[in-house]
Structures are given as structure tokens and as C-alpha cells.
Amino acid sequence: MTHRDSIDKLLEHGKLAEAFQTLADAWNREPSLNAAQYVIAKYERHRAELDLVTCRLAILRSVTVEPLVPLLRAAAYVNGIDLDVRVSDFDTYATEMLDPGSALYEFQPRVVLLALNTASVAPPLWAPSDDSESGLRAVADDTVARLTSLIQAFRNNSQADLIFHLLDSPDLTTRGSLESHADFGQRAAIESVNERLAAVARGMRGVHPLDYDALVARHGRRDWFDEGKWEQFRLPATAPNLRHIVDEWLRFIHPVIGAVVKVAVVDLDDTLWKGIVGEDGFARLKMGADPPGTPYRALQRALLALRERGVVLAVSSKNDEADALEVLEKHPDMLVRPAHFAAMRINWESKAENIRSIAGELNIGLDAIAFIDDNPVERAEVRAMLPQVRVLDLPPDPSKFARIVLENPFFQRVAPASVEDRQRTQFYKEQAQRATILASVGSKEEFYRSLGQVADIAAANDLTLGRVAQLTLKTNQFNLTTRRYSEADVARFMSDPKRKLLTIKVSDRLGDNGIVGAAITEDDGDACRLDTFLLSCRVIGRGIETAFIAYIADQARLRGKSRLVGMFCPTAKNELAKHFYEDHGFRRIADDADGSLWELGLATSDLKAPEWITVTPAPAVPA
């Protein structure tokens, strides 16, 4: 790996951000085993000074994963994730999953990866000695039954998310050119196993099938595998393909642990279309279905696909606004339109300045933003000025743009977009209108009154459970404890009578914000303990947080509790929530390593919702 000397020198001089950027660039150019060891050593040494997300990952396997582990850890480090990896012994996955007291569960992983392939887990499908329909069906049924029972046992024994490989097809089948003559041949048998296992996963929370066959096919089935090294080492792929397995794993790990971006900020000229509107003019821009417009059209389509997943789009472009808007609004070949963007900055300010301003308007952190621009100078500037922003490395060839976007792990999701995700662009626009109104009215209170806010508080149910988990994973700023929960965790809490899970929906005269907050409490003797209390930044500062905590206090009082107790666990990002307890009359009663403990006496507290918010259902009055 090149640049080792310059990285060491930068570290010596305390230029941490620059050193790790150089390290990341070097890794991306040459993601080799040798480089992986170096990347891991550097991150391990400096992990305390870097803002990394930690994750305990257990790998269960029927194949050799040892050379994959350093590649995975290095690639994860470069993306800001510190993986604590435990690899189980060879072929012990069944016993580890079935035994509730196994070392797997003792490790308490956040994510479990079950790395399989057909050759090891269903050899009679990989190289059949009996390729009759009845023979193949028997093996397929048996494979589905075996893996299903393991997955079910796992779901009962652990709250962790499970990522598991579906089966891959061999490059050559026993029947060869006759393959399609059989009603149920080798490939059909493997596909049937995959369909049934995917259906099992859809019926469970936090179980994610990985289409291993598609991964193999994408990189070339014939050269994926080296028979010699399979026989000798049980190595599942040739050395150059190991990196592809790791990248695919990361496309699941990122969304599972919430290491994703919420907003994609895109450039216009030579990114969304070929040409520069200010120089070439409207008529000469290309983004149609014929070359040279096709790569730009493909990128537009990719951006719309991200939007379907729940990623919000925004524009930052150096142009005269009227020129660029005319193209966005009127060009017949454009697929993306102004309505698809939550924010637009078309001006001559620096891109870094514009991204900062978009983050402010949308009320999100810079680390929730990805930047997509064809111009390496703009990218370098944003990287230097705003190191938290995820800057995509677009190659000079525009036909690769869409692929780079679609492959990026930060844009992946493992749950379909929620109603809130789909409406997010609209929410953000309404937010901007609110800001305009606030600027035009005299006082904040007058503004709140003029909004006519309604807060609808409800117990979480099967329909909203996914949103609760998503909020715990994604909310960083107004979050008192920043405890991250999977859907499976939330489902478990819901069945615990001591715990209450609440969601809060907020609407006002400008629109419906959807579910913007969640709280989880646990009754404990005379106390109601606040486990989680979080709100999306979109609604902060409008009294919603007060209405929500007042509702929780009222409900606890109705259940006969005399105290409401909660922790504040400071993180690098939740400064916004720091004074919450103090501002609502809580008393600080203890401090420990995780944070401070606060208490509210329910007998004397007069906590109530601000009068300008209508809370539904109306608070119950004790008889």
C-alpha cells in the first residue's frame, strides 16, 4: 500500500482527519489483504480519537472466512464502523444457533452473519448424484426445513439481526444443455430453496436474506470460485472476489446498524446532464435516452430509486438559478424535477457553504449527507471543509456514475421505506415554510399558536413498530439515551407488560409530520423509568417535547407511580437534549460513567402540555 510514509508523517503532526482521509483513499485504490492489516492497525491505535460506530458482529459459517475478516474490518473502519468480530468454529453454526446457552449468544452480538454456500450446506444440490425430480425435491425440502428451524431457533434465542446467505447455483449443471427440459432441475431446485427461505425471512423481524447467487453472478460465476482452493481450504471465492463478498456484507451491516445517509446532495452540470447550462445553453444539454445522454439519465433514475428507498434528494449547483431551474422544470428529457428535491441551492456560493445551509434547513447532521458531484475539485473542497459529509468518488467515465450510487452501502436500506420516509421531501418543504412564517410573525409563541399543532400520542403497535426501531437507530440529536433497538427488540418490549412504548405523531396547518418521536418506559416499583425518549429534529423547539413528557408523566401517575426517572447519556451529537430534564423540573440525583440520572416527583410536578398544542387522546383525568 502506497502513502504509508505520508500517513505516518501526518499522524506524527497530529493531522488526524487528513491522515485517515489519505488512508481511506489508499485503501480504496488497493483493498488488499496486506493493506487491510495496515488499515486495521492504524484505526485500532487511534480509535479513541475517531468518531466510530461500534458493532459486535458474530460470523457463523460453513466456509473459510478468516481471510475475509481483515478485509471486512478494514472496509468497515474506513466507513466509520468499528467491528468487534467473533468467528465461530467450522460448521458449528447449527449447534450455536439451536443452543440458547451457546458461545454465540453469550457474545451478545448486535448482528449475526451466517456465511454459507451451496457446496457446503447442500452438496447434493451442488453436485447431484441423483438429479431426478423426486431426488432434487427431497434435498430441497430437507434444506429448507433444516435452515428454517435454525433461523426460527435463532429468532427465539437472540435479539440480534441475522444476515444469511441464500444458496448459489454452480456454473455447470449435471444436465448441461438439457437443464431446461426438466420440470424441476438443479437450478430450479436451488431457486425453490431460495424462494422459500426468503419467504421465511419476510415473516420474521430482523432476518435479512442475502442473495448470494446474484452476487456470484454479478462478478462472473465461472471465475468466482477456484475448485482447488475450495477442496484444500474451503475458500468460498478466489482472492480478488473476497472483496466483493465483504462489500455485499457491508451493504447489509450499514443499514442494519443505521450507518446510512438520509440526504443525497447532487450537482447539476455534467452530473445530472451532459453539458453546462450557462455555457452550452438549454438546447444543447443531453440527458435523453440516446448517447451521450444515457449515463446521465441512468444517474437520474438511480436517484429516483434512492428516493423510493427513503433517501431525500437536494441540489447544490453553481449556476444562475433561473437557467438551471428552467432545465429542471421544462426540459422534456429530464426524469427528476424540482418536486423531487427537498432543498435547492443554485447560486455561486461554495458547495461546502451550500451543503451546510441545506443541513441547517433540513435540520440534519452533516454526517447524514452524501455529496454527488462529477468535479473532483468540488469534491476535494467539500472533503476538506466538511469531513463529516460522505463524498462519493465518481470516476471520470459518466457511465459508471449510477453504479457508484447504487452500490454505496450508505444508501442501502433493509426495511422498505416507511410512510414517513416516502413523505420526507414534503415534510422538509413544509419545514421551510414554517421557518418563513416564524420570520414574519412577532414572537415565537404567536408563531406556535398560528401553527395549530396537534400531537397524537399512541401505544406502539404492529404497524408502527418498524418506525419505532428506525427512530432509535437514526435519531442522534434529540435523543436522551441513544439506545439503538432492532425491530425484534421493539417487538420483545411490546410483549413485556412492564414496558410502555409510545409514538407521537404531529400535524399542523401546513401538513402532517407523521410519527416524529418515540418513548419507551419501564415500570419499576414506585418509579417509571424512561429507557428511551427521542424526537426528530424537525419538531424540536415547538413545545412538542414538553407535551410528550407531560403525557408520559400523567400516564405514570395514573398507574400509581410516584417518580419518573430518566438518564441523560451524552454523545458527540445529542447536545440539543442536554438541558431537557432541567427545563422540565427534573432533579439530578446521580452521575455515573454513562451519564446523569434525573428524577421528577409526580405528586408535586405540574408538568403539562403547552396550551397551543392539542394532545390526542386528551389526557385522562383520575376519577
Binding site: 488488499s32 489483504l33 496486506n34 492489516q37 473459510t64 478468516e66 481471510p67 477456484d226 475448485e227 482447488g228 482452493k229 477442496e231 484444500q232 481450504f233 475458500l235 478466489t238 482472492a239 473476497l242
Partner: protein, 89 residues
């Protein structure tokens, strides 16, 4: 001293072996001076089956060659490995 005599035995060290030596030292976590053409699973303490995989992959990565099953089975020492790689270069 021999000059550029690839695969020479004795005091001369082939350029391929010099690279193999460097990679093996990295994989096994020992000094390059502890690695000789005679080094083998019997003489290097950390040379177990997992390290063997790392070694083969690191060599393939560095030289851009694929080492076949027969090559791997015959790899009795690092000197043999360097010779097997030379045949493929």
C-alpha cells in the same frame, strides 16, 4: 555473489524469493531475517492452516498468479513456493 540468477541455490537469493520472504515475514509476524528458503510449517511456529491460506492469498495478490492445488500440496518450503511462482511468471 550471483547476479540476477533467478532460482539459484546457495548464497544467491532470487528476486522472487526476496519478495516471498518479505510477504511471509509479514504474514507470520516475524523478522525477514528469520525467513529462509528452508522455512516450512515445521520451522515457523505460526505457520498453521489458517496462516497458510493468508500466505497463499497474499502471494497470489502480490504476483498476480493463481496457485493451483498441486502447487499448494507441494509447498514444502518457502524456497519451493518461490520456484513454483517463478514457473508461472
Amino acid at each position: 555473489m550471483d547476479h540476477g540468477n533467478a532460482g539459484a541455490s546457495g548464497a544467491g537469493v532470487s528476486p522472487t524469493f526476496a519478495v516471498v520472504q518479505q510477504i511471509a515475514a509479514g504474514v507470520f509476524g516475524v523478522a525477514e531475517s528469520d525467513i529462509s528458503p528452508e522455512s516450512s510449517p515445521q520451522t515457523v511456529e505460526r505457520w498453521d492452516s489458517v496462516q497458510q491460506i493468508y500466505l497463499v492469498l497474499a502471494l497470489e495478490e502480490r504476483f498476480g498468479v493463481q496457485l493451483a492445488l498441486e502447487d499448494i500440496e507441494e509447498l514444502k518450503s518457502l524456497g519451493d513456493i518461490a520456484k513454483a511462482i517463478d514457473k508461472k511468471l
